[in-house]
């Protein structure tokens, strides 16, 4: 469970978040929309404890992280996977080392166990063949997928996505969104998807995964599936929440700012 209670954040003279309060229940997917500079990515950095709020409380699994030390935050971060906008892969490390980075740092598993986990996560994103490549040899879409694999190592309960589809072609974008849906519906993770791409957000809000007896998965649209009911939207305007509700409520809204996204 993630909860923001009256969070304020300011950089120099610029107020980025103003009295932001919301709650995300276990298994829920929160999609945060808003124009550039509206404070979307700041919310993710606050959840990870990369930056601290000026005031207010941020609760992760019931624990307020706003006053925690860096050492205490490491424990919180172990339960959170983060997918960065451009992948943020370490240039000097191979795909294998990037994906297994967290486990190597923890030093609790043997090399063969780390290798098995890396292969499993790369298999999930369909990139086993890229295991020995360096980030410079990967396309933009492949970098994002490796970024997702890295975030999934250690099976985190919470996964944060910072505009993972930005700047990608429609086919690659679809691949990334399908991975997110698969993760939501098969692993049941709590997730926050920050974007200004309404098309990608609408796919997440309207499609879900079904698996047949042989384990083959297919994407279906619409219906009253629980995973779709667990999707919620937040819209940010100048650092404040101007809308919170379901996909349908957002699409039916007549508020001019929201209409600039939905029309």
């Amino acid at each position: 469970m993630i909860e923001f209670r009256g969070v304020y954040k300011q950089f120099d003279d610029e107020v980025v978040l103003k009295d932001v309060s919301f709650r995300i229940n276990p298994g829920e997917t929160k999609i945060i929309l808003g124009e550039s500079g509206s404070g979307k990515s700041t919310i993710l950095k606050l959840i990870l404890g990369l930056i601290r709020p000026d005031s207010g409380e941020i609760l992760i699994e019931g624990r307020d992280i706003s006053g925690m030390t860096e050492r205490q935050l490491v424990e919180i971060r172990c339960g959170i996977g983060m997918v960065f906008q451009e992948g943020a892969l370490f240039d000097s490390l191979s795909v294998r080392e990037n994906v297994g980075y967290r486990l190597t740092e923890e030093g609790q598993l043997s090399e063969s166990e780390i290798e098995a986990e890396v292969l499993q996560q790369l298999g999930f994103v369909g990139l086993e063949e890229a295991i020995d490549k360096m980030p410079a040899e990967l396309s933009g879409g492949m970098k994002r997928r490796v970024g997702i694999a890295r975030a999934l190592v250690g099976t985190p309960k919470i996964v944060l996505y910072d505009e993972p589809t930005a700047g990608l072609d429609p086919i690659t974008k679809r691949t990334i969104v399908e991975l997110m849906i698969k993760l939501r519906d098969t692993e049941g993770v709590t997730s926050i998807f920050v974007t200004h791409d309404l098309h990608a957000a609408s796919i997440i809000a309207t499609e879900y995964v079904v698996a047949d007896k042989d384990g083959h998965i297919a994407f279906q649209q619409g219906g009253e599936s629980l995973c779709l009911l667990n999707n919620n939207f937040i819209m940010l305007q100048n650092g404040s929440i101007c809308f919170e509700g379901s996909y349908q409520e957002m699409m039916n809204s007549e508020v001019p700012y929201i209409r600039t996204f939905t029309s």
Binding site: L48, V74, R77, Q85, A88, E105
Partner: protein
């Protein structure tokens, strides 16, 4: 209160406050990097890698700098020494100038350009591409992983490079002394070694320790504070070289004074 003072005193006050904050942040980063030496994990692989990059990678420029500086010293000293009939003392002049001053300072300035800029641009690129944030989100302290190994590598390798620079510089001076000034090799080398005192050796080894610390910490500090995309990386790179160079020359002044003060205690 701060707003009122800012309005009244304007730019000098803002500059002063900013400078205080910069010094505070620099000191905090440096103290954290040193404190990491006394707790686990220590990234040995990264330390060895950085030592190779800094030491082996900088060998060519340090050798060339030392050689030509020694040679130029010998050529330039000829005119002044001949006036007093003391051309035979070229070895002494080259050795003392190199070991006391030029060897440590020139090696440090060369490494500030080559390594300081490299550290700032590497860490700056990692900041703007969010690799530093990714590292923190994966549970790693970037100071421990990136800053401490560079600091250790630099503090170990710069004294070694300085010794090489001094040695090659003296060889450069010897070649000029032998073939141009027609001084015998035995006179050049005996003069050079006899002129050296224990305090000179302490100076030539202690100065690079301080300079190495300055280059690595300035590069890391400026790199980790990069903002503004690729343009910001370029700015950080320039700033790292300029700041390191100024700090090296300033520190050299104070170290020289300290060594002169201590030399009677060190030399029997």
């Amino acid at each position: 209160m701060e707003n009122l003072l800012t309005r009244v005193l304007g730019f000098p006050f803002r500059f002063f406050i900013k400078a205080i904050f910069e010094i505070q942040s620099y000191t905090l980063l440096a103290s954290r990097a040193i404190a990491n030496l006394f707790s686990k994990p220590i990234y040995w692989r990264e330390i060895i890698l950085q030592m190779d990059r800094i030491g082996v990678g900088s060998l060519t420029i340090v050798v060339l700098t030392g050689f030509f500086t020694g040679a130029v010293l010998a050529i330039q000293s000829e005119g002044a020494l001949r006036r007093y009939g003391a051309v035979s003392m070229t070895g002494q002049l080259v050795a003392l100038t190199l070991i006391r001053e030029l060897g440590p300072v020139l090696s440090a300035l060369m490494l500030a350009g080559r390594i300081g800029s490299g550290i700032a641009s590497e860490l700056g690129s990692m900041v703007v591409s969010e690799q530093i944030n990714a590292m923190r989100s994966l549970g790693t302290d970037p100071t421990r992983r990136l800053v401490t190994p560079r600091m250790i590598a630099m503090v170990i390798m710069l004294p070694m490079l300085t010794i090489i620079c001094d040695t090659v510089g003296m060889i450069g001076g010897w070649i000029i002394a032998s073939y141009k000034l027609l001084i015998s090799s035995s006179q050049y080398w005996s003069d050079a070694f006899n002129a050296m005192q224990f305090s000179d050796l302490v100076g030539t080894l202690s100065k690079p320790l301080v300079f190495g610390f300055i280059i690595s910490m300035t590069g890391c500090y400026v790199g980790l504070r990069t903002h503004g995309g690729t343009e910001g990386v370029g700015r950080s790179t320039t700033q790292a070289v300029v700041s390191s160079s100024i700090l090296i020359i300033t520190a050299d002044f104070f170290l020289n004074n300290l060594l002169i003060y201590l030399s009677p205690m060190m030399n029997p």
